[in-house]
Symmetry: C2
Subunit: 233 residues, 2 copies
Amino acid sequence: MYLKPYSGAGAPAHDETRRQLLEAAGEVFAEVGFRNATVREICRRARANVAAVNYHFGDKETLYMEVLRHSQQTAFAKYPPLLGVTADATPEEKLGAFIRSFLLRIFDEGSTAWFGKMMSREMVEPTEALDSLVAERLRPMAGLLLGLVAEILGRPPRDEAVRLCCFSIVSQCVFYHHCRTMISRLFPEQRLDASAVDQLAGHIARFSLAAIKHLPNPERPGAKPDSAGRRRR
Amino acid sequence: MYLKPYSGAGAPAHDETRRQLLEAAGEVFAEVGFRNATVREICRRARANVAAVNYHFGDKETLYMEVLRHSQQTAFAKYPPLLGVTADATPEEKLGAFIRSFLLRIFDEGSTAWFGKMMSREMVEPTEALDSLVAERLRPMAGLLLGLVAEILGRPPRDEAVRLCCFSIVSQCVFYHHCRTMISRLFPEQRLDASAVDQLAGHIARFSLAAIKHLPNPERPGAKPDSAGRRRR
DNA sequence: TGACATGTCAAACAAACGTTTCAATTATCT
DNA sequence: AGATAATTGAAACGTTTGTTTGACATGTCA
């Protein structure tokens, strides 16, 4: 039960506190996640009173959803899925751009990095906010990738092989960000920041295109088992 | 500051409470993670008193480390990295077995499933326990995979292309488990449990082998750029 | 200026947390 | 049985959490 601000006609000139709360909340939520973040720490960084979050956003969860939605918008505005190529590019070129923008988006630094970090946590511990994110940006992006791979593979976008290849591509993109704590333990020399994006994007594109173009014909497992593709046991 | 149990000579016959605590803790930690798990809930499921955790394990964190170490041991005992192939198998066959065991290990149900779920959370929010897990099992497993890929690729195990290919393979394995909340939102028809392991393992093996065998020659980005492998911009 | 809505502040609230305390109970050994 | 150590139990401790309260400050419009 809280009083909704900004209810009347009189438009308040300065919502400076609200802006600073969003900024501080983005930092904290990205660092430690929703559960581990404390309202007190957010208000401390925003130089605001402890009651500020509840006054301006109602509760902690609403603030979180607002931050997540906002960070997704800025991340996709800065790095659209086909950044750097035009509409007449080949599907192979578009796929390369897709991979590169994907990595840039989640490996960016500063406030845009909040998106990648918050999404990593949403994978393990999803909140209600995830559903609206999927509907807004992620589902269209999945459709785009399905179309590209379908064109390269010469199969319909709903084909199971197309979907599995898309999984293989996206998995490589999210891996370096999500498993960075494990990677840097096993391979301390591996760079895992924005400066490594071009190296990683190049490998993922080459690896995936080579795989897609030379995939054994009966990828569909249910359809007549080919003796050559059959493993023992 | 707590009294170490089992200190004297008199060996207590029944550590039944301790066993039930480990079991209940595995359930709870796998479900909600370390921070969100409460000692009270663990003790409730173990039908023990609230003080039982501190008495038998000292504190909550020690209990967590004990559970994680134990779950890793049982997971690798049940699904060793090269399950199903013998030492004289081809590297390609071994790679297929590696992928299949990897998926079986993290998609298993019951108490073995704790390992996969706890590891997912360790990726996002690592604890001190992670280092010992890496040293015990994960580093040797990485060395095994590096050797397999190096043999197939015809390059030394320390080669950068070999390492990147290993990343591509492992990334596909962990993807289905770690991003399952996103996958099932985008593709509700995709099966993501133990029954789908053979389908997924087959695709990952085919995709990765096709990629490794048909990788463009100068995978190494620094060494003399080949005009054919060069993308515009 | 006075009235009123908007925003801020220190303080407190109620709930949940991990942990501790200490008496009661149980098992083990002489 | 009696003494001793191991284990359990109910209750409480001290913190931290998100949220609420009510006094106070600030702005705007009559």
